[in-house]
């Protein structure tokens, strides 16, 4: 029997236990085990790069076989999981230093990695759901490591996550009640043969679960709190990986369980795609635009990134929901790219918080001279996020635009394009308020982060370049995955896409090489001029005023206040407020209940007496009330 997939799955769990136990001996043992075992997972994963496994029986539970499998798409997501988790573990070594309960923290980090790996490898709904639950709980425990405020944020997360998981559980129970097996292939056959009402119910129940985890509006409200309050490396895992698991779930739902042709039968077609997918596309499109607007107006670096995550995952979901080969490829590619650049940004902002202790954008500024590596990482991250060539975010967004144009879904295309332009605003805000502008006196002695924290920043920056200039590297995996799910992959080569069939062509190497040539020309003109001399930041134009250390001469607070004037009237109400109103009414209801259940023995005994006498009275009446 081939045990290999089992080994792969167990590696992170083993690492978690070992690092927990090792931490009791010495902290270096803990770090060694954590880093060793998470790198080992990555290495093991590479054995499956070109080797799909279809059927690996894990065991049997409730009369349903539990299956592990690996196909190119799950490989892609498993790759995201293991890479980002490994980097988060490396980053945490310094970042979390000096906090209590670190043994447990590393244990959780590795268990959440293992759980997410389990989800990507699951071949049946039972395995999928089990690991899903482990993931929800451990990530909750990770979120609340961030201090007092994070407990409330974690609470919000776990409530929404449980709602999502329970709606999935109902769907699984409905399926189990019919066929007593939960293997994907059998479920797909069941769905193909079932009445439409049943199928739609199953779809909606699953979609709720995935929407919560992927943070698609309107089920996104936990994100802004949880991402900003959790420790930085956890935020990277949440945004870089956990969201992707939600997107992976959606992909499995759409293409492994239902399939486009079945969805097309359920409801009529709109712009040759099933209405149900078109609706998901609109959820995603609205996510993109609304959260972009919200991100622009944030004052908190991590909140800004959190809203931007909601917006970017919108592109992933939008791409997957288009249903064409190009759209699906774009969505999956964007999942990889978003994992790279958003984790990178959470790491760099984490590095800034590590050194300065604040994530309030208006308190920061001018850190470029103190933290050049972190600045470079942020620069690559924002260029990729904004979808500007030649970095990776551009390629996948471009594929999604082209796919939308191909299908003439013009209104979604407008939303997608506008979301991208809006992202220039907040990414510039992010980099300007932290690294540019004037350096406050209190951060005069800030140093660059330790080398161990620089490693993730360097590697992920490299990732944005590599997948930007050579998109073919990622397309190799994605195209094989599309073939696996019966979609004909689009034409691609190492440097881009030759186009055709209504799709434009793209050659990234040409864009980047001409850009570099242009830069060289500009540099020659620059170098021919007179030598420059460096001046201090206080030696500055202030219309005759002398700028000194005591005057704050920086533009940072309310960076886009004038823009806020335009859009604020629309944002007076929000989904979060509606949920909170529900929560309040639940509280009021609980208050009334508490008046009955006082917890007082005498009250309870008097209830018993009253009820017994009432029942006795009824019996006396002959059991008839009327």
């Amino acid at each position: 029997m081939n045990m290999s997939l089992m080994v792969l799955l167990l590696t992170p769990f083993t690492g978690g236990i070992l690092s927990y136990l090792g931490g009791k001996i010495h902290r270096s043992v803990r770090y060694t085990f954590a880093i060793l075992f998470s790198s080992l997972t990555l290495v093991e994963l590479f054995f499956y790069y070109n080797k799909p496994v279809n059927h690996f029986v894990l065991g049997k539970m409730f009369g349903s076989v539990m299956i592990l499998q690996i196909n190119p798409i799950s490989w892609l997501f498993a790759f995201i999981v293991t890479t980002i988790s490994l980097l988060a573990i490396i980053f945490s070594v310094n970042d979390m230093e000096g906090r209590g309960g670190l043994d447990f923290y590393y244990f959780e980090l590795m268990v959440v990695e293992g759980a997410m790996l389990g989800i990507t490898l699951a071949g049946d709904l039972l395995t999928f759901f089990l690991f899903w639950e482990i993931m929800s709980w451990t990530s909750y425990l990770l979120i609340i490591q961030g201090g007092n405020k994070s407990i409330k944020a974690g609470y919000k997360y776990i409530i929404m996550s449980i709602i999502g998981a329970n709606s999935m559980l109902i769907a699984i129970a409905m399926i189990y009640g019919k066929i007593h097996t939960l293997v994907f292939r059998n479920v797909a056959m069941l769905l193909a043969a079932s009445p439409h009402g049943f199928d739609i119910a199953i779809f909606v129940l699953f979609a709720i679960g995935f929407f919560v985890e992927a943070a698609v509006m309107p089920l996104h409200t936990w994100v802004s709190d949880a991402y900003s309050e959790a420790p930085s490396s956890v935020s990277s895992v949440l945004s870089g990986v956990l969201e992707k698991i939600g997107a992976y779930g959606l992909f499995v739902l759409l293409y492994a369980l239902f399939g486009v042709s079945l969805l097309g039968k359920l409801m009529p077609l709109r712009f040759p795609s099933p209405t149900i997918m078109y609706t998901i596309g609109w959820f995603a499109g609205i996510s993109i635009v609304v959260s972009t607007f919200l991100a622009i107006l944030q004052e908190d670096a991590k909140k800004l990134l959190a809203y931007s995550s909601i917006s970017q995952i919108g592109y992933v979901v939008l791409g997957i929901s288009i249903g064409t080969s190009l759209g699906v490829a774009g969505g999956l590619f964007h999942a990889l790219n978003h994992a790279i650049f958003k984790s990178l940004l959470f790491f760099t902002i984490g590095a800034v918080i590590y050194r300065t202790g604040t994530r309030n954008l208006s308190e920061l500024g001018g850190l470029i001279k103190k933290m050049p590596v972190t600045f470079t990482g942020t620069l690559f991250g924002i260029i990729a996020l904004a979808g500007v060539p030649p970095l990776n975010g551009f390629v996948s967004k471009w594929m999604i635009y082209e796919a939308l144009l191909q299908k003439k879904e013009v209104f979604l295309l407008i939303l997608a394009l506008i979301g991208s332009t809006g992202s220039f605003l907040y990414v510039y805000r992010l980099i300007h308020s932290t690294f540019l502008g004037q350096l406050p006196e209190k951060f005069k002695d800030v140093k660059e982060v330790p080398f161990l924290m620089q490693i993730p920043i360097w590697l992920l920056s490299l990732g944005t370049i590599v997948f930007g200039i050579w998109p073919g590297l990622a397309m190799n995996v994605i195209a094989r995955g599309e073939k696996f799910f019966g979609i004909t992959p689009i034409k691609y080569n190492l440097y881009g896409f030759p186009g055709g069939n209504g799709m434009g062509s793209l050659k990234m190497i040409n864009i980047s090489s001409v850009f570099i040539a242009g830069l060289i020309v500009a540099y020659i003109i620059f170098a021919l001029g007179a030598k420059t001399h460096r001046i201090s930041q206080y030696d500055n134009y202030a219309a005759g005023q002398v700028v000194t250390k005591d005057t704050k001469y920086n533009y940072s607070y309310g960076f886009y206040m004038f823009f806020g004037r335009v859009v604020n009237p629309v944002f007076k109400w929000s989904a979060d407020k509606i949920y909170l109103a529900w929560a309040r009414s639940a509280n009021v209801f609980g208050d009334y209940m508490r008046r009955i259940y006082t917890g007082n023995l005498e009250t309870y005994s008097s209830y018993i007496v009253v009820i017994i006498s009432l029942v006795g009275f009824l019996i006396l009446l002959g059991g008839k009330i009327w």
Partner: protein, 296 residues
């Protein structure tokens, strides 16, 4: 091969020449509208030479130096994706949608450089520039989508070819062309959309700290910028041209209209500029898009 090298060297020079000549025209025409004699026609060129040959210059840091270089480098990159008469250039490597994003590399570089100058005037200028861009991008993407749908291609050269023989997109999609013009107009930062540089408010905004060769680079970049905006409009809506002469004439007519408006209008407040773009131009652009969707 030799032809390619000639194009690689010649095109930036051509674009710069066209841009700088328009900058000269602008000084001259503007002066005549205000009943002045005005500076000589080649004044912008003299300005650039003067700025580049300044003996001393300041720097606020590496990104401050890199900002103008990225801006100019990106402008040189951009011109290779806008076809000129008889030449496809690199339109096969990036289509119109990619071009939209190639065009912003320069602004981003400029923004970074201005940000490091540690001057609030510059920061406000960039914040305004990005907001204005967000403003005009909404109608612009709608216009672009209408054109792409109309001609069933995303290749700018193919779009230009499809308009050959006087079937300009301007006549086919008049509403889109009007909005396209308003957008190009705002993108060039002319009155009433000159909120970015607004000398009386933010002391020329992003350029507040720049001087010497840095500013010289930015002037060169501006010349390219003028060329890019005008050439893009001519290619999209005025059918390109059969030879360079006609190309220049079309751009000149367009530029003349822009200057006439620019010289007599006051300035918007930034949020009013955004409101303006999100109201009428967007509605008109959407109308045109719906016409294209229905009419095919």
């Amino acid at each position: 091969m030799v032809k390619n090298i000639l194009i690689a060297i010649g095109l930036p020079l051509l674009a710069f020449g066209i841009g700088i000549s328009f900058m000269g025209f602008k000084r001259k025409i503007g002066a005549r509208i205000q009943r002045r004699y005005g500076p000589p026609f080649h004044q912008p060129l003299l300005d650039i030479i003067k700025l580049l040959s300044k003996k001393s210059d300041i720097s606020h840091g590496i990104i401050y130096d890199l900002g103008p270089m990225i801006a100019l480098g990106a402008s040189i990159l951009t011109i290779f994706f806008i076809p000129i008469p008889g030449l496809k250039l690199l339109t096969g490597s990036a289509d119109v949608i990619a071009l939209l994003y190639i065009m912003v590399i320069g602004s981003l570089g400029m923004g970074l450089g201005a940000g490091e100058s540690a001057n609030p005037n510059s920061s406000i200028g960039i914040a305004r520039a990005l907001t204005l861009m967000f403003g005009y991008d909404l109608p612009f993407v709608i216009v672009i989508i209408s054109v792409l749908l109309k001609y069933h291609t995303t290749n700018l050269y193919a779009i230009t070819q499809a308009q050959a023989g006087g079937h300009w997109a301007m006549w086919v999609l008049p509403l889109s062309a009007i909005v396209g013009f308003i957008v190009i107009y705002g993108a060039m930062g002319e009155h009433p959309f000159d909120v970015v540089t607004a000398p009386h408010e933010v002391a020329t905004g992003p350029m507040a700290e720049y001087g010497g060769k840095h500013l010289g680079l930015l002037f060169i970049d501006h010349a390219f910028h003028v060329y890019i905006e005008l050439a893009l409009f001519v290619d999209l809506f005025m059918g390109g041209a059969s030879n360079i002469g006609w190309f220049y004439v079309k751009m000149f007519v367009l530029f003349l209209i822009i200057v006439f408006f620019d010289e007599v209008l006051p300035r918007f407040r930034i949020d009013d500029a955004v409101r303006f773009y999100w109201r009428w131009p967007t509605i008109i652009a959407l109308t045109s898009l719906i016409i294209v969707l229905i009419g095919g």
